[in-house]
């Protein structure tokens, strides 16, 4: 039972991550390699705040604001350029972020990680209570995404994705539209980070590496972008796929490698058979 609850909680966290990344990949048409960094900002900021005595929701809110503020660094540095520059800027941000986590020992405790992070106790701090709370948070994020994706704002961002010049000539503020949607995506990723930190009660830098960013991008590309279904399907599939390996009695030594091979295979097969992802509507190019 606990194993199932563990998977449910992971899917809730990763669905929130992929839904938020969808705003960058699906709506803006940019590939971001820094999403795990914003996830990490959420985890670390809220972990530190909660250890300082703040409650879960206060910490979650503040970490979201901090992540949104940091995202403006990426926006300012990259948004005047084309998509490939964006990938490089986000990669740089991700690498620098990881180095800071790893080396700023007085604050982040570096590779030792932060432990003893409290769990929210509204529905009890046991797994069923946590799964319920995270389900509600996930539902809230879905609700917010429905409103965002249906809004004129999303339509305008999409028009910028399709043709920057034409959108500008219709009066769209290209910079603000992109920066806002990336800030929202980062804030929501930070919410997932707070949830993750509270769930595990322990975090260290290895959860927020470039590899994690790439995993998030794969989730979004496998599931599909541009709508709500795609990212959620992607999170479910890519969380459950490696779990299936557990039942195949594969030795621990090769398990993680097979996991990576599976991710790669899933991506390649999908890009070949169905470039829009399993349930997406936008084909990333």
């Amino acid at each position: 039972m606990n194993y199932v609850l563990h998977l449910i909680i992971l899917i809730e966290i990763f669905a929130i991550l992929s839904l938020s990344l969808n705003l960058v990949v699906g709506l803006n048409g940019f590939l971001s390699l820094a999403h795990a960094a914003f996830y990490g900002i959420g985890a670390y900021v809220s972990a530190l705040l909660m250890l300082a005595g703040l409650n879960f929701f206060g910490a979650l809110l503040i970490s979201a604001i901090v992540a949104a503020a940091f995202s403006s660094l990426i926006s300012i540095a990259s948004l005047r350029f084309k998509g490939d520059i964006f990938i490089l800027v986000t990669l740089a941000f991700q690498v620098v972020f990881y180095s800071i986590l790893y080396n700023w020992i007085s604050v982040t405790k570096g590779p030792y990680g932060i432990s003893g992070i409290p769990r929210p106790s509204i529905f009890g701090s046991s797994l069923p209570g946590l799964a319920l709370l995270y389900g509600i948070l996930g539902g809230l994020v879905v609700f917010i995404m429905i409103i965002i994706l249906k809004s004129h704002f999303a339509l305008s961002v999409t028009s910028v994705r399709e043709d920057v010049l034409a959108a500008r000539a219709l009066g769209k503020n290209v910079f603000l539209l992109r920066a806002k949607s990336i800030a929202i995506a980062s804030a929501v990723a930070a919410i997932a980070g707070s949830m993750y930190a509270s769930y595990l009660t322990f975090i260290d830098p290895t959860s927020f590496t470039v590899d994690e960013s790439i995993l998030l991008v794969s989730i979004v590309l496998v599931g599909g972008t541009g709508n709500l279904k795609g990212p959620i399907v992607g999170a479910v599939v890519l969380i459950l796929l490696p779990e299936a390996l557990r039942f195949l009695q594969i030795p621990d030594a090769i398990g993680p490698n097979i996991r990576l091979i599976l991710y790669g295979l899933a991506l390649v097969v999908l890009m070949y058979l169905r470039p829009r992802g399993i349930a997406g509507i936008y084909r990333f190019e």
């Binding site: 004129h152 999409t158 034409a166 000539a169 219709l170 503020n173």
Partner: protein, 249 residues
Amino acid sequence: MLALTNIGFRVNGHAIITDVTLTASYGEIVALIGPNGSGKTTLFNVINGFLRHTSGNIAIAGTRADNLTVEQRIALGVGRLWQDVRIFQKMSCLENLVVAVKNSPGEALWRAFVQPKKIKLAEKEAIDKAEQYLKLTGLIEKRNIEAENLSYGQQKLLAMCRLFMNDATILLLDEPYAGVSSVLFDRISALIEKMRKLNQCILIIEHNIALVQWVSQRMYAFDEGRIIAEGTPREVMGSIEVKEAYAGV
């Protein structure tokens, strides 16, 4: 209205546009003709604000616009039909039009959460207006189809409808007839005529001289970045300079 006075545009010492003085009033269709590379599209980019003129003055809707950004000029009513259309390929025809609405309340996300009714109303209004234009141009059945599936001429019609939705009043139409099958010429002419009836100020770049003579009230002929003739279509087409420029003498 639009008034250019002694506009010059130089790049690295090379004059691309020299001493262009031109006016266009509301309710008037003004054509710019001239061989390829004579500076017509560059002039549109200067009026649009994508390029900054190096001398002279621009007045848009009675406002001195020399130092205004692209966004500020668009707020004054400047709208553009691109030579290469630039519709939003992966968006439906309806979305292509609805997105063009300026200052839609739903553009501010907080309103989407706080004032959903107000936004619904505005969206409905926009959709109604868009459908009206889709009907007018015969695209209503393609309403929910991604715009990349339209023929080139249909894409041009869609891009022109976008200008109506954008409430643009000073229109820069860059070759509206080029690359369009002649079946659609009438529909494009009808849209241009509708723009004029809405009292908009219309500048057209066009190589199809026969068509544009018929559509426009006044003409400017360009060659090598200068105006070489201006007046009614009859006067311009009769001028010796224009004949020489087109004959390549």
